[in-house]
């Protein structure tokens, strides 16, 4: 084999040409791209690095000795991406016109903590000290058409809190909503996470990468990152071609869902400095069906679009991103109740006695939600000093909820008015300076950030009062590594002011609150053997009480409980310790984490002694109280290449939550679960390449650890689910087409999940055949 040796220098992306030849021969013949990845400083090979050729949607990991091979690459010009945690990423253009051997050196000294987390293709050895998992584009593409929650629920430590098929919220190690920070393309998503039925307002077609960091991450991500962080990002724009893109279409049999997305991108000038990308996606679903019943009014219609522009010239980079998310979704009719007697009757009867007719119309109760986001990011590199980054963001979230309690009115306009209509506007600005290595290998970032937020009640509904808030934060984080040991530490201080405007006796009462506190992080990773590392991380983060927790005063009709807020609640603080063991070889991948998360002043709903009396009847009374809580658990993934064409993995999530003041379990904690997965590569046949067959089994145990006498119904029994999938890839007129066919809930199992808010009323959806097609051009 004729081999060419090329060295990569990685301070900025560079272009390497191997005997550039006329383009005419491209695409005619196939070659193998091979190489070795080494640490530029130590010269040691880097096992487990991720190598991708995005145009071909091909990716491999380097083996124990740092070697990799990508077979059957058509002659042509490609991007080669190399990712390895703790090292600067590489994005280079390569020209393939014969079998090629690349010697790639990665520079560890430019290591930047935040980016390390983002750019890792996969969680590997030399890793951040935290417990984290990344879903890359290929993994996400397998779930296109589903919600963000459904995309991430196969990860260790992650479950979902669902309200039917259209609403699912990620739960990380038992915590969700205001205890997680959701980073949407660089901005902390400021949506309305007031309740369990308020899903994240993000287009599930938009991310090319989702990363979940488990455990307190307040220093890097600010107030609220008590339970962890979910980052949603897109790949860099492909500026090398005038126009390229991707079309995705999918169909779901269970709820007659059709959905699709089209993405276009390109470069606007010859030099490849200016690029653009635009994406539009749509999802439309009718009612979901359980094995026995129609879940009437669980359809949805969702239209989202985004636009991104990027300009990069030497040391400057500008990036503009705009996105719109819009959805209208129905809430299952049978879950709508007037009072506790209705709920108890529904639980006693076990399933709806009404024979609902399958349909696509969306009636009340329903939600109409939109989220607009505008973000500017600028970067300026000062050689030998560091990089300055600025970010400015604006977001507006509008949430309208239409109640099924029909108004008794002859005024048709009144009947159309939402019961709840809020507009939350947020703007934010961040300034960061990342310094170049000092004292050989100490890198770090200092930054300040500010945020202004306003919630304005529109024509109706006063569940959440109007409020204005301002936050400011300052942080520093430093990272040191010698290749064997990586250590990080950081601190942050935030202050949060809040003015709430209450209406009492037709007069506006203003209440002002100030909260301030510090977040800390410290961690160390030690690579104690070539394939093994162990990490310890200590993190503490806090959050002020939510406005809903302070000022709720009414009935939550979804849960038939009367909730009373408490404006004197103190901030909540998480003190998390996490230990992670990792093992990465060419054949095996293993990550196991154990954690102990103390939460002081944990805010929860405490059942009261006396029911709340209303004209609809009496409701159980709950008030927001605080206690000291602890959540402990173990989660991990074990992946093993059993045969050359058979990959297997197991994922476990196991946790226990305690109310320490009362020595009783915390309510609504996810039950223990285990997922088994097998991926079998099948031989190419004719046009069809990269054929595969996959099976996934999910086993969820019954939750036996819950406070007695609080809930209306005991947790449902455990369940087992089986999903099957088969897929192929082919080339049609030089364009790559991926097709897949999945059968979810193959056995049509009847089951309910403890964290489904519909479990009192109806089973989860039954079997569904899903077809997915993807065209890259």
């Amino acid at each position: 084999m004729k081999k060419k040796f090329v060295s990569f220098f990685v301070y900025i992306p560079i272009i390497i040409s191997l005997n550039v030849q006329p383009e005419a021969v491209f695409g005619q013949t196939l070659a193998d791209v091979e190489g070795v990845i080494r640490d530029k400083i130590s010269g040691q090979p880097l096992p487990g690095a991720n190598i991708r050729m995005p145009e071909l949607n091909k990716g491999v990991s380097s083996d124990q000795d740092g070697f990799f091979t990508i077979n059957d690459v058509g002659y042509g010009k490609y991007t080669l991406q190399v990712r390895y945690v703790g090292f600067e990423s590489i994005d280079s253009l390569i020209v393939v016109q014969s079998d090629t051997f690349l010697e790639i050196e990665m520079n560890p000294l430019e290591q930047k903590l935040d980016e390390v987390l983002v750019k890792a293709g996969r969680d590997s050895l030399g890793e951040s000290t935290k417990s984290l998992t990344i879903l890359d584009k290929a993994a996400l593409d397998k779930h296109r058409g589903q919600t963000i929650g459904d995309m991430v629920k196969s990860l260790p430590g992650v479950t979902v809190l669902s309200t039917g098929p259209s609403i699912s919220k990620p739960v990380v190690r038992g915590l969700h909503s205001q205890r997680l920070v959701l980073m949407n393309h660089g901005l902390a998503q400021e949506g309305q996470q007031w309740g369990g039925e308020h899903a994240p307002e993000i287009d599930p077609f938009s991310p090319d990468r989702i990363e979940i960091i488990r455990g307190a991450s307040g220093v890097e991500y600010g107030v609220g990152a008590i339970g962890g962080v979910i980052r949603v990002d897109s790949d860099n724009i492909n500026k090398k071609e005038d126009l390229s893109g991707e079309l995705m279409l999918n169909g779901f049999s269970n709820n007659a869902q059709g959905s699709g997305s089209i993405k276009l991108e390109g470069g606007l000038d010859k030099s490849g400095k200016l690029g653009w990308r635009s994406q539009v996606s749509y999802r439309n679903a009718a009612d979901s069906r359980t094995p026995k019943d129609v879940m009437r009014n669980t359809g949805f219609r969702e239209l989202s679009y985004s636009f991104n522009m990027n300009y990069e010239d030497g040391s400057f980079e500008h990036d503009l991103y705009f996105s719109h998310f819009g959805t209208e979704l129905g809430i299952f009719r049978g879950a709508h109740i007037g009072n506790v007697s209705d709920l108890e009757r529904a639980i006693r009867l076990g399933r709806p006695t009404v024979d609902f007719e399958f349909g696509r119309e969306i009636d009340n109760p329903r939600q109409e939600i939109s989220h607009d986001l505008f973000r500017y990011q600028g970067k300026y590199q000062i050689s030998n000093v560091g990089r300055i980054e600025v970010q400015a963001g604006w977001q507006q979230n509008r949430r309208k909820e239409f109640d099924a309690h029909r108004r008794f009115s002859n005024d048709p306009e009144a009947l159309q008015r939402p019961a709840f209509d809020l507009e939350l506007t947020t703007w934010s600005a961040d300034l960061k300076f990342r310094h170049d290595p000092v004292f050989n290998s100490l890198t770090g970032t200092v930054g300040i950030s500010g945020m202004k937020q306003g919630n304005a009640r529109q024509s109706t509904g006063s569940l959440i009062p109007n409020f204005k808030s301002y936050s400011a934060g300052v942080f520093v984080i430093e990272n040191w590594s010698n290749g064997i040991v990586t250590a990080e530490t950081g601190a942050r201080f935030d202050i949060h002011w809040r003015d709430v405007f209450l209406v009492e006796n037709r007069e506006v009462q203003r209440r002002s609150f100030t909260y301030n506190d510090a977040s800390l992080v410290g961690g160390i990773t030690y690579q104690f053997a070539p394939d093994w590392s162990v990490s310890g991380n200590f993190g503490t983060a806090w959050r002020p009480p939510g406005v809903n927790e302070q000022f709720s005063d009414g009935i939550h009709h979804g849960t038939a409980q009367f909730e009373l807020g408490n404006e004197d609640l103190d901030p909540e603080r998480s003190i998390n310790i996490d230990l992670t063991l990792r093992h990465v070889t060419g054949k095996a991948y293993f990550q196991l984490s154990a954690y102990n998360n103390f939460i002081t002043n944990y805010i929860f709903l405490q059942p009261g002694d006396e029911p709340a009396l209303t004209i609809r009847g009496s409701f159980p009374f709950f008030s927001y109280e605080q206690t000291d809580a602890v959540i402990r658990g173990v989660d991990g993934t074990f992946e093993y290449q059993l045969l050359k064409n058979l990959r297997t993995s197991a994922t476990v999530s196991f946790l226990r939550g305690w109310n320490r003041d009362e020595s009783i379990p915390l309510i609504f904690m996810p039950s223990d679960r285990l997922q088994l997965f097998a991926h079998l590569d099948l031989p190419n046949t004719g046009l069809f390449r990269s054929n595969y067959l996959e099976a996934r089994g999910t086993m969820a145990r019954e939750q036996t650890h819950f406070p007695k006498g609080v809930d209306f119904a005991p947790p449902p029994p455990g369940y087992q689910l089986l999903d099957l999938e088969s897929g192929t890839e082919m080339e049609i007129s030089g364009k790559k087409v991926n097709l897949s066919l999945s059968l979810n809930n193959v056995l049509n199992a009847t089951y309910r999940d403890y964290l489904s808010r519909f479990r009192y009323f109806i089973d989860e959806p039954g079997r569904s055949l899903v077809m997915r097609a993807q065209l890259q051009f």
Binding site: G378, H405, S618
Partner: protein
């Protein structure tokens, strides 16, 4: 060259800031807005004594169950129903939404949608159902099933004190099938479920 780039930096930030300035001012709250939609805030029972021949005597008694600020806030005010033992009354019920201006009379709407609504009147003594007070509903919907806006209430001679529970069901998705309480059906919303204390003169 550097200056041009810095300038574009500033322009873009200014643009972003300008966009950021949009949005309603939370401080200007519309205090007269409709607020939370509470459908029924007040229920009134009006009873008129009947003589032995079943004729109206003109002697009336009434009681109001009122929660004009809806759930939460101030506790509801509940009037006691003062009745006579061994007496029969003819009664009616009135439901209002007093948060609206003008006050919305919901009784009329229920009459128009009689097929979807049904009242139940149950006398409870110490939490147990008792027939010491019996209520017969006198009006029906288009299918001939009981509605209950008008009723006859009979108090036995030895009736103990207790509570008269008034329930209004809204047959949202379920079909109204009988005159009995639909214990085996889902898809029904309870619009009203209250109890008036009953005392005797």
């Amino acid at each position: 060259m550097l200056h041009v780039k810095l300038k574009s930096f500033v322009v873009i930030i200014a643009f972003a800031a300008a966009i950021a300035a949009c949005g309603d001012d939370p401080a200007s709250v519309d205090v007269d807005g409709p607020g939370e939609s509470e459908l029924i805030t007040s229920v009134t029972l009006s009873l008129e004594e009947l003589d032995d021949q079943g004729n109206a005597t003109g002697i009336t008694v009434s009681a109001v169950w009122d929660d004009s600020d809806g759930p939460g806030g101030s506790a509801p005010t509940i009037e006691t129903l003062q009745l006579k033992q061994g007496t029969t009354y003819q009664g009616s019920i009135e439901l209002l939404d007093t948060t609206k201006d003008p006050v919305e009379n919901i009784t009329e709407e229920i009459e128009e949608e009689a097929d979807e609504h049904q009242f139940f009147y149950i006398f409870n003594v110490d939490g147990n159902e008792s027939d010491a007070i019996q209520v017969a509903r006198n009006d029906t919907d288009s299918q001939g099933l009981a509605l209950g806006l008008n009723y006859t209430l009979s108090v036995s001679n030895d009736a103990p004190e207790g509570g008269l529970r008034v329930i209004l069901l809204h047959f949202e998705d379920a079909e109204k099938e009988s005159n009995d309480f639909p214990a085996e059906q889902t898809g029904i919303d309870t619009d009203v479920d209250i109890e008036f204390p009953v005392q005797f003169e």
